[in-house]
Symmetry: C2
Subunit: 581 residues, 2 copies
């Protein structure tokens, strides 16, 4: 049972399911459904797919996540960034509007789902950790800018394309004069309405005595209202005939179930982007889920989340959907509306299924500009210039990785952007730890404390040199330590002892261990005693398992103070001890 | 002057050059010349090049290193591992024995020299640090095995080839029956003689009252004796007619100077192997130079060494040589023979130049089996199975990187071997630091010390949780910390305060900083106080430059003990303080 409920988390909550939970879940499901319908249509368009694919991706994946996911309130489905990544990857293989494009997107969901599930089974959730926060934040900001600029053509009612900011800008510039006035009116109108709704509607409604909670929910329903209104306008004024691009006939009914067509060629072309989509989707899911869970002192299991998200994507792949992930906005709405368990997700799926069955005939006259405006308003909240400023103030090296991610994403597209960010942040981290902070330390007068000679007024001795290294010793910095000690010895001709203070050394790998052997060997040749102090328990265990302590020409002291006083005595009475090599 | 002597280190020693230094340098040069002649011929053969190229690579490069290198006693020239890497890389572009093959090897020297020099100018010496000791050691052992097995065919006098152990073995197996008895006799004879000379000759000579120093030097001259003897045998018994492969006519004279033919295609094919050769050669050079320098309390400058080694390789590229590096054996001989300054290298260059001018006619009848035996005996000292055992005992993760390096090098060649080793050791290091050791700590009774509850009998409190993290906080482990704290909070319903003890935290990057903000935010939501203790100076400076300390719902305590006692008091008297959020 314990294991079953670990891998099937719904077994934990469905046994204690009661009326209160049902009420909360049903209410949340209604609100999330209203929010998800326009979003699903819009993000499908962003991914270059027909609108029904967006609805399909919001049915079975939600049920699959409810069974395998560990978050009580996460709402999965199509999201903006992953839709853009899908468009960018699939666009390199097939042409938008073809059957091959749809098939590749569905295959992408299945492949990405399989990868996520496998990563979960093999507990590889830690891989997501190599996306640093500045890289993710920069990536999401750049993606938001790319997405918004890519939708401008739908607002203008012109052709165009491009996956990078320069391409999109050039394409817009060339076509700008062909803008369609009616489309522009619809697009700008919806934009203004949505921005107003997001910023002021709640306040206005509360002003006219609508209860706060209801006002909040009504403000969140603004996109579906915009959809209904612009369909009405298009009907009334026959906007299709005036050159306004409409969504067109959307087939009614539930998605067909089945295994997507996947050739080996397709698989090998999709494998790298599927991996990137999986990791980005997983990171977004975990951070949203973690944030919400902790508000109720609940827990999520990152590795089980991989399985949950993997199941959701496999379900998307088997039901003509495209890659899904946990969305931030919809999860917060779900949480605020009082969802208690993942059953809310199942109810939402039923709502979207009903929409796919009965609402699709009404969508034919929906202007694409409405969806574009929905996307723009949604993604502009992803753009976070404040984060760029904060990272710049906090750390120049993190900022470098962030700036590279943003520039490469805007200039060369999403895949290269995220890869550049990861490689640069790994490189900078390794560079930093490869030149660790080292300090020569001396005694704070009248105490047993030893501090950096450059920061404090301390007592040092000409023939005993104490060095503190503020980093674990491993291959990337072991040679640096050798060089540093060689340099310090070369400039001090009367040196008799070196003490390496290891209070900040959390680990010593095999390379660093050999470097210590080498340093010991060289210092022995030079007639200098080599000692360690304040070695941590696990590190000492490791050293004690080797011959190092036998080779060491000096001693290991429990404290730096003991080291200094003992060596001082040894220098004054060289006869009565074996400490001078 | 200071800057000039930094970039031209010979300015430092040539001003104080005296008779004693001259005597030491001249003697060392004679001995190293005698050692280098057979080695240069043999390693050129190993690289698939005519023997004179080996001599050319031992003339100007030595002069260039003497001007730009910082080691007083390093001897540069052709070495076994770099010769193998050259053969492997150039063999993929051109066929051995053609002019194109020679031209590509010379271009490789020039390219690798330019890379090294540029890396030196941009102070990129730290890149070599990413070759961990176990990876280098495994790589050298595997290269030694590859080289030795690749020479067996010369001892047997058969055709054959292959760059990987399986290929070489299959090739030997197919041709084995065609072995030439006379070649085999020469090859095995020289092998036995050289092994005897290396192990016992010095002892035997000392036994017959030869002075120790002279005996040592005579033992080192064994290879040139083998060369002379087997040339004599080949002359006397006309071994060439009996099917023994001889070196053949070697042109006399000094190398022609000039820029090698380099096309863009060739350049792009050589760039990756040239980089690998540069890094491997640099690592070998620096570790040899460092070891010898510290015996005399001298210093080497790793970044200047890059320039020195770069200049040597550029010189090789401009004088029909091939890639060179600092050799271990010859440098030790140079050091032991009493070389005082790099002038010894210049004198050695003169010696080799004389050999190229006057000795080459005698080399025509040198059996290739003699050179092969020289190589085998030289490289078997590179094979270090003891290191494999030691690394296995010390660290399983280092052993994994080492084993992968050895297996991939033997099975797929040198380039892939070293790349696999580097990637695996980086990956394992990141994996390790991504799941740092964390300990819940409690008070050691009667003291102000706080230790791991699992290692010590300590006092803890149910409503205050103190966690020590034994690693710097950065992007790869920041989410792990979030998860860990979320898990600890979820299992403790009566928790009021969490104290993060930061005594081992040497740095907090932007990701970890955001994680701390996030943890603080979540704990605030959950009604739990979040506190830090024992934050290091530089880390505190960084935190104080942000709003974090304002957001923090708890406090930063100087010591863990202060944290625990203050929070204890706060829980008992909730009125008179603001510590409970």
């Amino acid at each position: 049972m314990g294991n079953a409920s670990k891998y099937l988390p719904f077994l934990q909550w469905c046994r204690v399911y009661d009326g209160a939970a049902l009420t909360g879940d049903l209410l949340a499901a209604v609100i999330v459904t209203i929010m998800l319908i326009p979003q699903s249509l819009a993000y499908a368009m962003l991914a270059g797919l027909p609108p029904e694919i967006g609805l399909y991706a919001s049915i079975l994946p939600l049920v699959a996540y409810a069974i395998f996911g560990t978050s009580r309130t996460l709402a999965v489905g199509p999201v903006a960034v992953v839709s853009l990544m899908t468009a960018s990857a699939v666009g390199q293989i097939a042409t938008q509007g073809t059957m091959g494009y749809i098939e590749a997107s569905v295959a992408m969901a299945l492949l990405s789902g399989a990868m996520l599930a496998l990563m979960g089974v093999f507990r590889l959730g830690f891989l997501a950790n190599f996306l640093s926060h500045p890289v993710i934040s920069g990536f999401i900001t750049a993606s938001g800018l790319l997405i918004a600029s890519g939708q401008v053509r739908h607002i203008l009612g012109i052709a165009g394309g491009g996956n990078t900011l320069p391409d999109i800008t050039i394409s817009l510039g060339r076509q700008f004069s062909a803008a369609n006035p009616a489309t522009l009116a619809i697009g700008v109108g919806v934009l203004v309405f949505l921005v107003f709704a997001r910023r002021y509607l709640k306040r206005v409604l509360v002003g006219v005595y609508v209860p706060v909670r209801a006002a909040d929910m009504m403000a969140k329903a603004a996109p579906i209202l915009a959809v209904a209104l612009t369909i009405g306008l298009a009907d009334t004024f026959d906007l299709g005939a005036r050159g306004v691009a409409l969504v067109g006939a959307v087939p009614s009914g539930l998605p067909a179930l089945g295994f997507p067509k996947v050739s080996l060629d397709l698989l090998s072309a999709l494998i790298l982007p599927a991996f990137l989509i999986s990791v980005v989707g997983f990171v977004e899911t975990v951070s949203v889920a973690q944030t919400l869970a902790s508000k109720r002192r609940q827990r999520i299991e990152p590795d089980q989340e991989l399985i949950g998200l993997g199941a959701a994507n496999i379900a998307a792949g088997l039901s003509s959907g495209y890659p899904v992930t946990g969305g931030f906005a919809r999860s917060v709405v779900n949480f605020d509306a009082g969802a208690q368990t993942p059953a809310a997700g199942v109810f939402t799926a039923v709502g979207i299924a009903l929409a796919a069955l009965f609402l699709t005939p009404m969508l034919a006259n929906l202007p694409q500009a409405t969806l574009a405006a929905t996307i723009i308003v949604a993604v502009l909240s992803l753009v976070d210039f404040g984060a760029i400023k904060r990272v710049f103030a906090y750390s120049k090296s993190d900022f470098a990785a962030m700036a590279a991610t943003i520039l490469v994403t805007l200039g060369w597209g999403v895949e290269l952007g995220i890869v550049a960010g990861v490689l640069l942040s790994l490189g900078l981290h390794l560079y930093r730890t490869s030149r660790p902070h080292t300090a020569i330390v001396g005694q704070v007068p009248g105490t047993e404390h030893y501090r950096n000679v450059e920061r404090h007024a301390v007592i040092t001795q000409p023939d005993i040199l104490s060095i503190r290294v503020d980093e674990s010793l491993y291959f990337a910095n072991s040679r640096y330590l050798e060089d540093r000690i060689a340099a310090l010895v070369a400039e001090r001709s009367d040196l008799k002892h070196i003490v390496l203070m290891c209070s900040a050394v959390n680990a010593i790998d095999a390379s660093a261990f050999e470097s210590l052997e080498e340093i010991n060997h060289r210092l022995t040749d030079a007639g200098i005693g080599f000692h360690l102090s304040e070695v941590k328990g696990p590190v000492m265990d490791r050293l004690a398992s080797t011959n190092f302590l036998k080779h060491l020409n000096g001693r290991v002291f429990l404290s730096q103070h003991e080291a200094t006083t003992t060596l001082r005595r040894a220098i004054l009475n060289p006869q009565d001890n074996g400490l001078t090599p």
